[in-house]
Amino acid sequence: MARATSRNARVGWTVAAWFVALLIFFPILYTIITSLKSEQEAIAGFDLIPSFTLESYQTVQSQNNYWRPFTNSVILAVGSTILALIVAIPAAWAMAFSPTKRTKDILMWMLSTKMMPAVAVLVPIYLIFLRTGLMDTRIGLTILLMLINLPIVVWMLYTYFREIPGEILEAARMDGASLRDEILYVLTPMAVPGIASTLLLNIILAWNEAFWTIQLTTTNAAPLSAFIASFSSPQGLFWAKLSAASVMAIAPILVLGWFSQKQLVRGLTFGAVK
């Protein structure tokens, strides 16, 4: 279409696209702006230019003990992702490289476990956590988040592994490579990008999980999602402070997310759209 597009049309489309993009991004932008205001400014009416004070960031960190939930978020997101990868890499590997007649059924069944609504198992999981002392512990929540995301991790890895051509393996075998050489020098280098993408997407999903983290934590193991949800009425935390806490909670994952747009499509559609 580019050949037919005049400069004017291009300017028009550009203006329209930027307008829509800024409108969608506005709530995030305004939160960043408000986080740089003082509390008086924050409720003084619409204003896009803050006084650039870092007051709110300091208050949130000192008063609300922000680092505890932040550390919990990092531990839960990274921990559950690594656990999931440890279980999923061998499984996806086996299904991609020595598929059986039932491989497809197993994959579909794994997908089906992801469709179970969380609230359906709220009662038993809550009671199990209460009775085994896992309530409000990092280890309990890490395992739970691992189980929740395991089907997506297996699926994503499977779709990446499946794209590694089998002929390469045959060639390596003909050249006399052992199974160990095959895995170490042929497959691993080709599998690393897929594993990295899976890791990234899963950290994002685990970081943003907000049902189980709210149900199963109080203070000790509460990650940022549960921490922020406890400010549902801004009595303890005012506008500027709420904004600062929000910005700190979403900034790391926003940046990770920008780098993983492509993987996001693939991972969340279970490879149905690439």
Partner: protein, 289 residues
């Protein structure tokens, strides 16, 4: 390489994931099913007894249950409508030859990475608050009186917030699909004098059909479980005006300590989700061959 040995190894590699997921799926679900037939309240755990179908009957006769089902459907359908129509429009806009496409993409995709409680609180306090929100400022600028979104239109407010969160997902997937459209075909249609709307109807839309289906089905699964957005904004109210099925069950279990009732609600949620799941599995399964 001995095939039997490889297959044994493959089985061993698959086993942990399969066993874990199997236990994770079957054990809690059986427990839910069992509890759903009990009179079991955590406030009075010694009085536990067999209830038969009572918990299901109780749900069925509770007006809040039907309102929750209705709210769930309105929420899912409302968000789907906004995100699919909006997603198609924005994807086509970004696909045009524009300056700064990369940055536009990043801006549009950003809301998806905002965790639900933060998204809801941003909207509740920064945007929709009747005295300090941006929308109130806009209303006052035009001389109108500000809307108290969460008191007057609680479900609409939640639909808007959730749509904002999922619009990026729909846009990104539809854009990916749009970019795989054969440009030669489009140019041929253009040269043959096909007007813009028929190119959209007969070329673009059929090409995106599959991606649209995937967007609808995947979003539905997540939208049936909307929880944090309701918790931090309306807490299900006023009354039960913004309570969906997930929130109703959460209330039964955690606020009323009614284990049996919450379990029965959970089983109903499973049945609802399964109806959607069957469709999704068909679409994804077809792609596997």
């Amino acid at each position: 390489m001995a095939t039997r040995q490889t297959q044994g190894l493959a089985r061993l590699m698959r086993a942990p994931a399969i066993i874990l997921l199997f236990v994770w799926m079957i054990v809690p679900l059986c427990m839910t099913l069992y509890y759903s037939f009990l009179n079991y309240n955590l406030l009075n755990p010694t009085m536990t007894s067999w209830a038969g179908w009572f918990n299901y009957q109780y749900f069925y006769t509770d007006p809040a249950f039907f309102e929750a089902i209705r709210n769930t459907l309105v929420l899912v359908l409302g968000v789907l409508l906004i995100t699919v129509v909006g997603g198609i429009a924005i994807a086509m806009l970004i696909d045009k030859p524009i300056w700064g496409q990369g940055v536009v993409r990043i801006l549009v995709i950003s809301p998806f990475f905002v965790m639900p409680p933060v998204a809801a609180l941003i909207w509740k306090n920064m945007i929709m608050h009747p005295s300090y929100g941006v929308l109130a400022d806009v209303a006052q600028f035009f001389g109108a009186s500000p809307v108290d979104w969460f008191a007057q239109y609680p479900l609409t407010a939640i639909i808007l917030i959730v749509s904002w969160q999922w619009l990026p997902f729909a846009t990104l997937i539809l854009l990916t699909s749009l970019q795989s459209l054969d440009t030669e075909q489009m140019e041929a249609a253009e040269m043959d004098g096909a007007p813009a709307h028929s190119r959209f109807l007969y070329l673009i839309l059929p090409h995106m059909a599959r991606a649209i289906t995937v967007v609808i089905l995947i979003q539905t699964i997540f939208l049936l479980g909307i929880y944090a957005e309701i918790l931090v904004t309306t807490n299900g109210g006023p009354g039960t005006a913004s309570t969906n099925l997930t929130f109703l069950i959460y209330r039964a279990a955690r606020l009323n300590f009614d284990i049996g009732g919450a379990a029965a609600g959970g089983i109903i949620a499973v049945i609802l989700a399964n109806i959607v799941a069957i469709f999704l599995m068909r679409v994804v399964g077809r792609n596997l061959d």
